[in-house]
Structures are given as C-alpha cells and as structure tokens.
Symmetry: C2
Subunit: 340 residues, 2 copies
C-alpha cells in the first residue's frame, strides 16, 4: 500500500489549512463540524447527501448511545459483507433488500401512474450475460422443472403495443437456485433477453417458479437469523424492460397462493403482480408448439414513458419534501437545498 | 455457495407465516413494516438498534429522494471498502473516522470527568502483535527519525499513581507510515506494550512523530478527494491504557504547532492532548541513559475507574435521551424502549 506523501497531497492539504478550527469535538458539536468540512466540494447534491448521511449516522449513535462493542460489531459485519461479494454475489444489495431500502429506492425513482405495471426489487441475481433468444424459445435447461409457457404483451398507458422493448427475464431452477449459485456454472441458464415484436408481444418457455431462500450463508443470513426472520421469497419470475424513451421497469410476477406471499424477506410482493397460473389448452398448445396441459403464465405489462415518470417523480418529490418541511429545489430531478 | 433448502429453513419459515401481511409496500408504509418484521427477536436492544437504523436509513432516502444511480454508487463504494480490507487495513474504521462517527462513539462510551485524560480516535493501525518492552526501551527501529524520550505517569483522579497498567504505544516511522503500511513488514516496529511501575511511571525511547496522510489510495481517500477534504493527520503518538477495574482509555498526544492541528482528517485533536516538546537536559540524559538534546515528551495521564465512567455514562445517557424526548430505560447501561 502506498501512502500519499507527495506534492499532490501537500497541495491538497493547503485546501483546508485556513478552515475554521476542528478542535475539542464533542457529542454535541461533532455533527455541524463534520457537515461543514464535507461542504467544500462545490457540488450541491453531494453536499446535501453527505449532510443528511452524517446527520442520520450521528443521530443514530446518539439516540442509541451506541456502544464501542456494537460499533465494532457493525464494522466487522460490513467487512464480512464485502468479503463475500463476488462477480456473482452482491451481499450489500441483499442487505439493502432485507432492510426495505431497495423497495423504497425503487418506489421513489419509478412512481407508477394508475394502470401501469408496478415495480419490484431487482435482487442480487441479475446478470449481463443472458443470451438473446427469439420469441418462443426455451430459457431453461432444467429437466426437473414443471414446464411453463409465458405469453405476455407490453403496452403503453393508452393500451397501444410497444414493439422493440428489450426484456430481461430470469428465474431460479427447480431447486430454488439461480444459475450463478451453482459453483460449476459454465453458461447462463433460466435467464434470457427477448425483444417484443411489432404487436408488443413476447413469449417463451420456462419453468413454474418455486419459493426459495435468499443466500443465508453470509452476514445477511446471520442477521436475519438473529432477528428471527425467515429468509424465503415467494415463487416469482423477474422481468426488466428497457427501451429508449421509456421508463426502465424492474419488476417480477408472483404465483398466487405461495406460503411466503405475504412475508417476502425482501418486501417485493404487490397484489397487482400476483398471477393465477392457468393450464395450456389444446388450441394454445398447437399455436405455440408446446404440450397441452403445461402451466400457462399470461400477463400484460404496461410501460410508462420516461417523461411521464419524470414528471410524476418531480411532482411527488416536491410534495413529499414540502410535507417534510424541507426547503429544497430540484436540480436535474434531484433535491438540493434552496439557498436563494 | 449453498442455499438453505433444508428442514431447518422450513422450520424457521414457520416463524412468520402467520405474521401480518407484508404486501403493497410503499414509500409511506415500508418503514413501520420493516421495523415490525425486525422486532421479533426477543432482544430489546437489538430491536431498538434495528428500529433506529431502518428509520434513519429510510428517512435518508426519503429526504434526499435517493436516485437509483446514487444507491448503486453507495453499494459499489461499500464493496470497494470491503475488498481493500485486510489483516492490516480496516477501511470501514477509516470511513467511520472521517465521518466523525469514531470520535462520537468514543465520546459517548468514555465520558471523562474533569481532570481526567480525554480520549482520541483509535484509528485503523493498532495491532495485537506489539512486543512487551521494559521501561526505558527503544520502540523504534527507524534510523531516520528524530530521537525522542517520553516520560509519562499514570494516576487516578485523586493523583495517586496507578501501577500495573498495560500501555499500548504506537506511532508512524519518520516517513509517516505505520509498520503495517510497509509491504515487507516482517516484525512490529514503532509500537510496543509497556507496564507502569510501582509509581505509575513508564518511559521509552521513540521518535518525534510526524504529520501523515491517512491511507488515501482506497474508496475513503477517493471520497475525501471528491469532498475537497485533505487526508492529513497532525503528528501524534497513540496510547491505549488497560487495567482491570479501570476505564479503557484510547488516546493520543499531539505535537503543538502542527499545520493540521485544527484540521485533523479524523477529528481527533483535543487541546488537552496537545503537548509542547522539550529537549532532554544533561541531568535527564544521565538519569535515563539517553543523549542530551534529543526531544523530550512529558505527560501525566489520568485514568478513571470503570465505576466512575459507568456512572457518568449512565447519567449523561439519561440526560441526553430525556432531552431528545425519547422514553427509554437503561438495561446493562444501554438504552432500550421503556414499555412499562
């Protein structure tokens, strides 16, 4: 490790030598002083984020009178989360998920006007190596799974089909594991990318999803166990929709009647996303070239435009911040203190 | 990675199947629902910590309307911190230090009655392999450093010497690096453990400390750069005092006149810990077997008993929580909600 003792660091040091003194900091004055020293970047958004972060962090310690042992346990917990992260595992997203933060951030950023498809949590298992498959393709290589045909459409809020949408789809295999959870994974499985056709349709053959535990052999799993929380997610298939000019939609469809339907470990279930599976009838089987009697998932997704979402997000942000009594303005759709 | 699909997980899952439904969670109801699901451990302190943590985390996201990109940048930052941690580097302690949290937690846990020695931040460079050296020993192997004799005493608040105190001492070498920052470190250097003698004294030969940058080649260094903050600490020597029945004291002595005296990157400096170095006179040189004219650091540390500190901590905690309007009681010296 190289310590920076060179000229650059010396020059940087000059920045603050004339700053007001940071001396004799106490429980009562550490927060304004830390906020002040963090407010010199000239980036109003960064200044605001750091100010709220430091204030909440310090208030947390003051309200709990956080003990040195608890502080050290938190440090060790964070190190443990970092150490278990890999190209195919993100323990910090999992932590954000089980603390409800992921759901909250998604709701803030992707508000949905009535009639549009609601979002759900991304989770830590999306990858960027899924193969692009043509409509009708099979996206699973699991012989144990119960075959399921999915027939979906993508429309706008006026009911018009949206063609050319990139749709990312991923689910677990029948054992409840994503492909990346298998040590011997050599190629993507139970995941694919499709593109909606001229009528906004996409269809594929997968397997009926199963409930599964989120990875519980790491620090987040241990935390859930200490909290006496279960680590299960109800059966679902993930979907992510992308097209220029349209709001990025991350969502999932949940199968009605799952035992974890109302206790999802990561808070992702919405009633509008719970579906009843049907069975493929003779006519459908013939039309799509699948066996009669396999599971059938049908869903009509409704996307919003980027503009619709941005306008709604700005409106909701302004209303919420006013309700919180915060004097802020939106710059690039994000709040910063309004000093005018 | 092994997913837990066994009987234990199934049994654990039963815990919550009858819990109130977690469905259709929104910006407005996610917080009470997350707090509720985290409140089933039967451990009142853990329940309280999680409740405040989740509330602050969610409030932070709501007040800032945290964007998905910012959320992902935070996830990546935390992963980066975890990845750079090693046996000899703790980036999360460094992060806690530069955010003022370490100073705050130390002040909460180790309040000092008037006349006792104040604490300072532990920092990330304390190790557990320092050699125990006899009084008068040399704790440095750096030929470039300016020689310094330190003569110290340890007393109680009534002025009585405290013998048999274990004193951990560590400082950088003359280049501003701790031994653990050298890739080729094969043995501890510029660090030792001493024990106070019957008169509460300890003395050793080290080097005059120098200002140094905290490790700035990792995520925390990059954060400081973005915040336009310098990464320097004023010259100091770390001390840690331990003896059964006495409050654990983590502190440091700072050399007066350092350019970073009032802008310490980790907020550690207190006026009572700033010392004027003297020069060793002829008599002292003869008495301690060192050269006349080398630097002389003299300091009288004052420890408090565990009981004194606990009483003061409880008193300050009760006062502070009352002032915050929180209805809490102390159990094992730590606040939990008072539900009686």
């Amino acid at each position: 490790m190289s310590a920076n003792t060179g000229a650059a660091a010396q020059a940087q040091a000059q920045i603050q030598v004339n700053a007001p003194p940071l001396l004799d900091l106490t429980i009562d004055n550490i927060t304004p002083n830390t906020v002040r020293i963090n407010s010199q970047s000239g980036d109003a958004r960064l200044t605001y984020l750091m100010s709220r972060l430091v204030t909440h962090l310090h208030d947390f310690a003051r309200e709990t009178r956080l003990s040195t042992d608890e502080w050290m346990a938190a440090i060790e917990f964070l190190i443990g989360c970092g150490k278990i992260c890999s190209d195919v595992r993100n323990e910090f997203i999992l932590l954000s998920d089980v603390l409800g933060l992921s759901l909250l951030v998604d709701n803030i950023n992707h508000p949905k006007p009535p009639g549009s498809t609601e979002g759900s949590v991304l989770g830590p298992f999306h990858t960027h190596d899924a193969p692009e498959l043509p409509n009708g393709a099979t996206m699973t290589s699991d012989p144990e799974g119960e075959a399921m045909l999915a027939i979906c459409t993508v429309r706008d809020t006026q009911g018009r089909p949206v063609p050319g949408v990139k749709v990312d789809i991923w689910e677990t295999d029948s054992s409840g594991r994503y492909d990346v959870q298998h040590a011997d994974r050599d190629a993507p499985s139970e995941r694919c990318v499709m593109v909606t056709d001229a009528e906004g349709r996409f269809w594929f053959r997968g397997i009926k999803p199963v409930s599964y535990p989120i990875p519980n052999d790491g620090p987040v799993g241990k935390l859930l166990a200490r909290l006496n929380r279960h680590c299960w997610r109800p059966a679902h298939v993930h979907f992510m929709f992308e097209k220029e000019g349209w709001d990025h939609l991350v969502t999932a469809l949940y199968i009605r009647g799952d035992p974890y339907e109302t206790s999802d470990a990561v808070f992702g279930v919405k009633q509008s996303l719970i579906v009843d599976l049907e069975k493929v009838d003779k006519e459908t089987a013939a039309k799509y070239g699948v066996e009669e009697g396999i599971w059938l998932l049908k869903y009509d997704f409704v996307l919003t435009t980027k503009e619709e979402t941005e306008n709604l997000r700005d409106q909701l942000a302004s209303e919420a911040l006013q309700k919180l009594g915060l004097r802020l303005k939106l710059v690039d759709h994000l709040p910063v203190p309004d000093l005018d």
